[in-house]
C-alpha cells in the first residue's frame, strides 16, 4: 500500500478518535453543570470523564503529531493559516483541563462553582470553535501557492486568520459542533451515571437528536456526501435508542455519527477518481494552485517508513491500554451520598480532601 495514503488514513483515524473521545468530554463539560442541579450531581458528571479526559486529549497530540510527521506542508498551512483560532483552542483546552484537574483539589463550594463555570464555558467554546475549524476544512483557506494565508488582514492584521471563520461552512460547523457534542455528551452521561442524572441525560438526547437530524439532512442535500446521510441515520437511531432506554446503542450511534461527520469533513475534497497524489487535503479558495495535495505534502519515504514501523508497533498498544483503562473505570458513577465511615475509618484530624 502507498505509504502517504496509509498515513492519511492514520491521520484521519487519530482526528476521528480525538473528536469522538473529546467530543463527549466537551459535552459532559458543559452538560454537567446544566443537568447536575446539586453539587454532588455535578461532581458525579465530572467524575465520568475524570480518569480518561487526559488520555483522550493526547489523541490531539497524536493527530497533530502524525499530521506534522506525515504531511509537514499540511500541518504548516493549516496552523499558520488558522493562527488565532488555534491559539484560542489551545488556551481553551488549557482552561478546560486545569478546571477538571483542580476542581477537587480544594474543598469549598465557591471553588467548585468557579471550576464548574470555567469548565462549562471552555467546553462549550471548544465544541463550537472545533466545529468551526472543521467547517473551514470544507470551505478552504485563502492559500497562496506557497501554502500561506496572506490576505484578509482586517483590524490591523488580526483578521487574517479570523476571516476563515466567517465562511458559511465555518459558522454552520460551529453550531453543528455544539449540537453534536450535546447529544454525544448526553448519551455518554446516560451510559455512565445513575439516577436522575442518567434520566435527564436520556431525555436531552431524545430532545436534541431530532434537531441535529434536520441539520444533517440539510447538509446532505447541500453537499451530497454519503457519509453525512449515514450520520443522519445514526442520530435518528440514537434518539430512538435513548427513548427505548438502550443506552449502549444510543452511545454507539452518536459515536459513529461524530466519526462519520469528521470523516466526511476530511474527505470532502478527495477526488477518488484522480490519482491519490492529487487528493486535496486542504483546499485553497484562491484556486487550485494553492491546494495542499497529498502527494506534494507528504514527508520523504524515509520519514514515512520510520513512523510506519513506530506506529505499527506502538499504536495498537496504545489503543489496548486505553481500552483497559476504560475497562478499569467501567462502573457507573453515582451522585449518591458518600458511603459512611464504616468502610474507611477516618482518624480525627484527617485532612479533608
Amino acid at each position: 500500500m502507498d505509504l502517504p495514503v496509509l498515513w492519511f488514513g492514520i491521520a484521519v483515524l487519530a482526528w476521528v478518535l480525538f473528536f469522538v473521545l473529546e467530543g463527549f468530554d466537551f459535552g459532559v463539560g458543559f452538560l454537567g453543570p446544566l443537568l447536575g442541579r446539586t453539587e454532588a450531581e455535578r461532581g458525579a458528571a465530572v467524575r465520568t470523564v475524570g480518569p480518561v479526559w487526559d488520555g483522550n486529549e493526547v489523541w490531539l497530540v497524536a493527530a497533530i503529531g502524525v499530521t506534522f510527521a506525515a504531511f509537514p506542508d499540511w500541518y504548516a498551512a493549516l496552523l499558520s493559516g488558522l493562527y488565532l483560532p488555534m491559539i484560542a483552542l489551545l488556551l481553551l483546552l488549557a482552561v478546560r483541563g486545569v478546571a477538571i484537574e483542580f476542581r477537587g483539589k480544594h474543598d469549598t463550594a465557591r471553588w467548585r462553582d468557579r471550576c464548574d463555570a470555567a469548565l462549562a464555558l471552555s467546553s462549550l467554546l471548544l465544541a463550537g470553535t472545533w466545529g468551526a475549524v472543521l467547517g473551514v476544512l470544507v470551505s478552504g483557506l485563502a492559500l497562496s501557492p506557497g501554502g500561506e494565508v496572506q490576505t484578509g488582514g482586517w483590524l490591523g492584521g488580526l483578521g487574517r486568520s479570523l476571516d476563515p471563520l466567517l465562511a458559511p461552512w465555518a459558522v454552520l460547523g460551529g453550531f453543528a459542533g455544539v449540537l453534536l457534542t450535546t447529544v454525544h455528551g448526553a448519551t455518554f452521561l446516560a451510559l455512565r451515571t445513575t439516577g436522575v442524572l442518567r434520566q435527564r441525560a436520556r431525555r436531552l438526547t431524545v430532545a436534541t437528536a431530532p434537531a441535529l437530524l434536520v441539520i444533517a439532512l440539510a447538509l446532505f442535500i447541500a453537499a451530497g456526501h454519503a457519509v453525512v446521510a449515514a450520520a443522519a441515520a445514526l442520530l435518528a437511531l440514537a434518539a430512538v435508542a435513548a427513548w427505548r432506554r438502550a443506552e449502549v446503542v444510543a452511545f454507539a450511534a452518536t459515536t459513529l455519527a461524530v466519526a462519520g461527520s469528521v470523516v466526511a469533513v476530511f474527505t470532502a475534497h478527495l477526488d477518488l477518481g484522480a490519482g491519490t497524489g492529487a487528493w486535496v487535503l486542504l483546499r485553497s479558495t484562491l484556486g487550485a494552485s494553492g491546494d495542499v495535495t497529498l502527494g506534494a505534502a507528504a514527508a520523504s519515504p524515509g520519514a514515512l517508513h520510520l513512523i510506519t514501523v513506530a506506529g505499527v508497533v506502538v499504536l495498537p498498544g496504545v489503543i489496548a491500554y486505553q481500552a483497559w483503562s476504560y475497562w478499569v473505570f467501567r462502573r457507573r458513577v453515582t451522585s449518591g451520598p458518600v458511603r459512611p465511615a464504616a468502610r474507611r475509618p477516618a482518624p480525627a484530624g484527617r485532612p479533608a480532601r
Binding site: 461532581g43 458525579a44 467524575r47 475524570g50 480518569p51 487526559d54 488520555g55 486529549e57 493526547v58 497530540v61 497524536a62 497533530i64 510527521a69 509537514p72 506542508d73 500541518y75 504548516a76 498551512a77 496552523l79 499558520s80 493559516g81 491559539i87 484560542a88 489551545l90 488549557a94 483541563g97 486545569v98 484537574e101 483542580f102 476542581r103 483539589k105 501554502g147 500561506e148 496572506q150 488582514g153 490591523g156 492584521g157 488580526l158 487574517r160 486568520s161 514527508a299 520523504s300 524515509g302 520519514a303 513512523i307 513506530a310 506506529g311 506502538v314 496504545v318 486505553q322 483503562s325 478499569v328 473505570f329 462502573r331 453515582t334 451520598p337 458518600v338 458511603r339 468502610r343 482518624p347
Partner: protein, 486 residues
C-alpha cells in the same frame, strides 16, 4: 520590535513557562514511584505506611503539576506550525517523526497511566497500581530523551540530507538522530536538572513542616517529613553532581560543534590560550574588554577542552570564519544574555546544592531540626526560595542554550529569520502573546495557591486498600471516597 523578535519572545515565554512544570513532573513522578515502592516493601514486612503517605502527598503535587504541564505542552506541539511554518516545512521531515514518536510512545503512556494511578488505587491490585506510576515515570524519561533529540538536531544537525529539489532537510537515520552526541550529554544533564528541581521542592516541603512545629517530635508525621526533607536533599545533591558531570561533558561537546556558543558564554573576544573563566565581570556595552573581572585562570580552557592551557577560539575569529563560510552577516549571539545566563545557571544551581548539603549536615544521623537551631533559621528562610533555585537554573540553561545559538535555528543550516510563518501579522502575534500571558499568569497563580494548600494540609491518610471483589455495577463508596477529588 520586528515580527521575528515578537515571535521569538512568544516562543521563549511559552517554552520557559512550560519548562517550569516539566522538570517537576519528571522528578515528582520518579519520587512517587520510588516512595510507593518503598511503601510496598515496608508494609509487606509489617511496617508502617509512612512511605505510602509520603508517596500520596508527592503524587498529589505531581497531579497538580502534571495538569499544567500537559496543557502548556500541547501548545508546544502546535507552535512550529503556528508561528514557524517555514521552519516546519524545512525541518518537518526530521522534527515531525520525532514529535509523532514522542506522542505515540510517551504522551499516551503518561496521560493514561497517571489517570489509572490516581483513580485506580482502590480498583487495581497493589503491584499493578505500583506499576502504573512506574510507567508514568518511565514515560516522562522517554519523552525527555526523544524531544531533546529534536533540540539536539538544532544544536548539532546530524542524520539528515538536504533534498536537492526542495532544499529541505530529509531524515537519514532515526537511530543516529536519537544518539546525537549532543543529546547523549544533554539528556542526562536535563534529567538531572529535573531531579534537582523536584528534590528541592520536596525538601522544602519537609523542612517547612519540621520547623513549623505543628507535629510533635515523636509523631509519625514528624518522622515522615524528616524522611521527606532528607530524601529531597539527597536527590538535590545527587542531581547536582550529575548535572555538573554531564554539564562538563556537554560543554566540551558544544565547544566542538558550536564554538561560538562557548565563546559567547565567556564573552571571550579574542582567541586565547589558557583562557580564564570570569566569575563576575563588567564591561561597558560595546566594549570588548571588561573594566572589572574576577577570574579563575585557565578554567575556561579546562571547561571547553579539558586542559588548562588549551586554546579557545574567540568571538572575532569565529565571526570572520563564519562570514567566510556562510556569507556576510552577524554571527555573534547576544553576549550579555549568554554570559549571564551561563553564570546564573551554574551559580543558582550550585546554591541549591549547598542548601541541600547544609540540611543533610544539620539533620545528620538522628539529629532533629528544631526551630531554635542556628542553621535552622537560615534553612527556614531559604525554604521559600529553595524550590525556585533549580527551576531558575533550568530556565537559565535553556535561555543560554537557545539564545547563544542565534542567529541560527538549526546551527549552520537554517536561520531563525527564515523560519517565521510568512503570512503572520504583528497584530496576531501580539494578541496571542497577550492572551498567553493572561491565561498562563492566571494558571500560575492558581497552581501556586493549590500547591500551598496541598502542602499545608500535611501528610494525607492512605485510603483503604482495594476491595477484594472486583465487582461490576455501580459502587458509590469507591467513587465518592478517594475520588471525591473530582
Amino acid at each position: 520590535m520586528t515580527i521575528e523578535d515578537l515571535t521569538r519572545l512568544q516562543f521563549a515565554v511559552t517554552t520557559l513557562y512550560h519548562y517550569l512544570f516539566v522538570p517537576l513532573s519528571i522528578s515528582l513522578a520518579l519520587f512517587t514511584a520510588l516512595l510507593q515502592t518503598a511503601h510496598l516493601r515496608r508494609t509487606r514486612r509489617g511496617g508502617d505506611d509512612t512511605y505510602g503517605r509520603l508517596s500520596l502527598l508527592v503524587g498529589k503535587l505531581l497531579m497538580t503539576t502534571f495538569a499544567v504541564g500537559v496543557v502548556t505542552g500541547l501548545v508546544q506541539e502546535f507552535q512550529f506550525g503556528l508561528s514557524w511554518s517555514s521552519f516546519a516545512r524545512f525541518y518537518g521531515d526530521v522534527f515531525g517523526p520525532t514529535l509523532a514518536v514522542e506522542g505515540m510512545l510517551a504522551f499516551f503512556l503518561e496521560a493514561t497511566f497517571l489517570g489509572l494511578w490516581w483513580f485506580g488505587r482502590d480498583r487495581l491490585p497493589a503491584l499493578v497500581h505500583l506499576g502504573t506510576i512506574w510507567v508514568v515515570a518511565v514515560g516522562t524519561a522517554i519523552s525527555a530523551f526523544v524531544i531533546l533529540a529534536a533540540n539536539s538536531f538544532m544544536q548539532n544537525p546530524v542524520a539528515y540530507t538536504i533534498d536537492a529539489q526542495t532544499g529541505r532537510a530529509r531524515l537519514g537515520s532515526f537511530r543516529e538522530l536519537l544518539l546525537n552526541e549532543v543529546n547523549l550529554a544533554a539528556f542526562p544533564h536535563t534529567y538531572a536538572g529535573a531531579v534537582m528541581a523536584g528534590g528541592a521542592l520536596v525538601m522544602a516541603v519537609g523542612v517547612w513542616h519540621l520547623l513549623r512545629g505543628q507535629y510533635g517530635e515523636d509523631t509519625a508525621e514528624f518522622a515522615a517529613f524528616r524522611t521527606l526533607s532528607r530524601f529531597g536533599a539527597w536527590a538535590t545533591l545527587a542531581g547536582g553532581g550529575l548535572v555538573a558531570v554531564s554539564g562538563d561533558v556537554l560543554g566540551k561537546v558544544i565547544t566542538q560543534v558550536q564554538p561560538m556558543k562557548m565563546a559567547a558564554a565567556e564573552a571571550l573576544y579574542r582567541t586565547t590560550t589558557g583562557a580564564p573563566f570570569s566569575i563576575f565581570s563588567y564591561a561597558p556595552l560595546g566594549s570588548d574588554r571588561p573594566t572589572f573581572s574576577l577570574e579563575v585562570p585557565g578554567f575556561l580552557s579546562f571547561l571547553a577542552k579539558g586542559s588548562f592551557t588549551a586554546q579557545v577560539l574567540g568571538l572575532k575569529d569565529l565571526q570572520d570564519a563564519y562570514a567566510a563560510q556562510f556569507g556576510p552577516g552577524d554571527y555573534v549571539p547576544w553576549i550579555p544574555v549568554a554570559f549571564w545566563s551561563f553564570r546564573l545557571m551554574i551559580g543558582v544551581g550550585m546554591f541549591a546544592v549547598l542548601v541541600a548539603a547544609a540540611h543533610l549536615w544539620v539533620s545528620r544521623r538522628s539529629r532533629v531540626l528544631r526551630p531554635d537551631h542556628r542553621l535552622a533559621q537560615g534553612l527556614l528562610w531559604s525554604v521559600g526560595l529553595l524550590p525556585l533555585l533549580p527551576l531558575a537554573a533550568n530556565s537559565f540553561g535553556w535561555i543560554f542554550t537557545e539564545t547563544a545559538r542565534q542567529p541560527w535555528l538549526v546551527f549552520g543550516l537554517f536561520r531563525t529569520a527564515d523560519g517565521v510563518s510568512p503570512g503572520l501579522t504583528f497584530a496576531e502575534v501580539a494578541a496571542s502573546l497577550a492572551a498567553f500571558t493572561l491565561v498562563y499568569g492566571a494558571l500560575a497563580v492558581v497552581w501556586v495557591k493549590l500547591a500551598f494548600r496541598l502542602v499545608r494540609k500535611g501528610l494525607p491518610q492512605l485510603p483503604p486498600p482495594a476491595p477484594t471483589e472486583a465487582d461490576a455495577g455501580s459502587d458509590t463508596g469507591s467513587d465518592a471516597g478517594f475520588a471525591t477529588t473530582y
